[in-house]
């Protein structure tokens, strides 16, 4: 498709641990459409954050990208030189992380974060330009310009996350990867930040990858949803389709087991067991030990991703 802004093909990322090889992302293919918000959903250890980091080639060692391609504007990001990827980070594709406190340097004023950012990418920019552009960004984010001379610890959690989002969008990127951007925040602040991200997306024509474990957050903010489990992509579809009819038994289980106060039921069907240990993954489909619908075939090999009426799913119930 021509309106794909990012094409991830057969991506695998692995970590060498003392106990063995961990396949954090295992043979994942997915395309991100221009202008959409893709909700990337999964639990801890599902590989969703690693996938986000891999797009910018920021997977920390001992992790490494084992194979695959990530095409952006026809260029494979995994095969360009360091200088090129450095230019893409921030300017083309930018990222926001979960914990704003550890993302900002405690010894640098908010102002200095912006100066450093602009200087790195535009060495000749004048002090006045930096200040003007930064204050405009802060304004857009609802941060009073007096805050410019504050240190991170002087800001509340919500303010810090706003500043961090400001840094992420400062160079007008096309894609914003937001990794659990509101998980460390209280629910009212979370709502404020999500509202802000939605507004920025509209105003700046951003494409967004919203990484979260929270089904509610994607239900309210994503256009399309991709579900990951134990390093595998298990299902992807439009938000409407996936909520109306989740195909993969894991997605079904997640929906059924999430308490929802608008539909108060006294008996929710929880998924048995726990996510697998990726050093010793089960054979066959990685979800099979917890799956109520498994059959012989599921024990043999992990199912491939197949197309079911325009949707993607990795489950033998639908063929493959």
């Amino acid at each position: 498709m021509s309106d794909n802004i990012l094409d991830i093909q057969r991506l695998s990322v692995a970590y060498q641990s003392p106990y063995g090889l961990v396949r954090a992302v295992d043979d994942v293919s997915i395309s991100i459409l221009k202008g959409e918000v893709l909700g990337l959903v999964g639990e801890s250890g599902s590989g969703k954050s690693t996938l986000g980091l891999a797009i910018l080639r920021l997977v920390p060692p001992p992790g490494r990208i084992v194979k695959g391609s990530i095409f952006y504007n026809g260029v494979d990001l995994l095969r360009v030189d360091d200088e090129t990827i450095q230019k893409i980070r921030g300017r083309e594709i930018s990222m926001v992380f979960q914990d704003p406190s550890s993302s900002l340097n405690p010894l640098m004023k908010i102002k200095d974060h912006f100066i450093e950012l602009f200087r790195t990418h535009e060495p000749n920019i004048s002090d006045k330009d930096v200040e003007e552009r930064s204050i405009e960004i802060l304004k857009r984010l609802g941060i009073p310009s007096e805050r410019f001379n504050d240190y991170p610890h002087q800001l509340s959690g919500g303010m810090k996350q706003r500043v961090y989002i400001g840094l992420a969008i400062a160079l007008n990127p096309k894609i914003l990867i937001a990794d659990e951007p509101t998980t460390a925040l209280d629910v009212l602040i979370e709502a404020q930040i999500l509202r802000l991200l939605n507004r920025l997306k509209r105003e700046l024509n951003l494409t967004m990858i919203l990484i979260t474990h929270n089904m509610g957050v994607v239900a309210e903010n994503a256009d399309r949803i991709a579900v990951m489990y134990a390093g595998k992509l298990v299902e992807a579809a439009s938000k409407e389709e996936i909520f109306a009819e989740p195909l993969h038994p894991y997605t079904q289980g997640l929906f059924e087991s999430a308490p929802n106060f608008l539909r108060r039921v006294r008996n929710i069907a929880s998924i048995p067991g726990e996510p697998p240990d990726l050093i010793n993954p089960p054979s066959g489909c990685l979800f099979n030990p917890r799956c109520p619908k498994r059959f012989d075939k599921c024990l043999k090999e992990h199912p491939p991703l197949i197309d079911v009426g325009g949707r993607i799913v990795a489950c033998y119930l639908y063929g493959g």
Binding site: L188, M215, A219, N260, R264, S270, E274, P275
Partner: protein, 328 residues
């Protein structure tokens, strides 16, 4: 129904350490008013939820109930006895009856202690049973939380997050307590495992006739387990009602905001959001009058001066707001 616990106008002020210079120039002591005049009753056999954002005072309230920190003011009566006035010996007896489950099971378990020892420790502290009897009790407690007795010889790092939280729950029930204070018991558990842990807590409650105080920021989890919910804001309870009533008919502007803000996992249930601007103010100098007035769209002049009290506006539905419940 009988009250198992009565919390009566309890306050907890933490003094702020000042530097030498600050002490010379100002005699005034400053405090973090973590809990500032909270009253509620817990009925035997119910699950009472304490819900609020960070800084609301919900955890400090829980710590006072289990006797891990003393109130600055007010009384907490368990079965009629004031917890704060107990001697350390009496307090130890009381701890048999009140147990706590914390948020982070990894931090609650000693990494060098085998699971069996960790679950057994409360029995040893209270001098219950012989070594053999204790081992049997540990094995039984583990089975009650869905773990096989073979876990006794393992270490915490060998367990998954959900299993560790089960161990912590086994340790909390081994003394057959009457009241368990559970502080965010599923916040650090994987999403697909949360429902299991909540169901486990509910089934143990049934089996042992337990009472819970369930502390959480997660309204969805609270709606699933709680019979009644108290919503806290900046050290005060702003609303207290039965769970269904609270969600169907929230009356305090803060409760309304909280409920509207929670992202709902169903795009067909889109709702109007009502998100107050700003963030929770500092508990060092909380706003005068109603503490929520600085962010409240319904605030009127008197909200700035008069501190509202928690009033029973409908049967069993308490609200600390003199404006919104009467505005329609």
């Amino acid at each position: 129904m009988e009250n198992i616990l009565v919390v009566d106008n309890v306050k907890k002020y933490f003094p702020i350490e000042k530097s030498f210079i600050e002490r010379i120039f100002s005699k005034e002591k400053t405090y973090v008013k973590a809990v500032d005049g909270v009253s509620f009753k817990v009925l035997r056999g119910e699950v009472l939820g304490l819900v609020g954002e960070s800084g609301s005072g919900k955890t400090t309230t829980g710590l006072m109930v289990v006797g891990l920190t003393k109130p600055t003011y007010g009384r907490i009566l368990f079965d009629g006895a004031d917890i704060a006035s107990l001697s350390s010996r009496e307090l130890r007896q009381l701890r048999k009856k009140i147990q706590m489950v914390f948020q982070d099971p990894m931090a609650s378990l000693n990494p060098r202690m085998k699971i069996g020892e960790a679950v057994e420790e409360p029995l040893r502290i209270h001098g219950i049973g012989s070594a053999k009897e204790r081992r049997e009790m540990v094995s039984e407690a583990l089975q009650k939380v869905g773990l096989s007795p073979s876990f006794m010889d393992r270490f915490p790092h060998e367990l998954s997050g959900g299993q560790r939280q089960r161990v912590v729950i086994a340790r909390a029930i081994i003394l057959k307590p009457e009241l368990i204070v559970a502080d965010e018991p599923v916040a650090m558990v994987d999403v697909s495992v949360r429902a299991q842990i909540l169901d486990l807590l509910l089934s143990l409650k049934k089996e042992y006739g337990l009472t819970y105080i369930f502390i959480t920021h997660d309204l969805s989890a609270a709606s699933y387990v709680c019979d009644r919910i108290a919503v806290m804001y900046l050290g005060k309870i702003v609303e207290l009602a039965n769970t269904d009533e609270l969600f169907d008919n929230p009356m305090h502007p803060y409760t309304k905001a909280l409920i509207s803000a929670v992202p709902v996992p169903d795009p067909r249930l889109r709702r109007e959001k009502f998100i107050p601007s700003g963030e929770i103010p500092s508990p060092i100098n909380p706003p005068e009058g109603c503490r929520f007035h600085t962010r409240c769209p319904y605030a009127i002049e008197s909200c700035r001066k008069n501190e509202p009290t928690l009033e029973e506006i409908l049967r069993d539905h308490f609200v600390a707001c003199p404006v919104l419940p009467f505005s329609h």
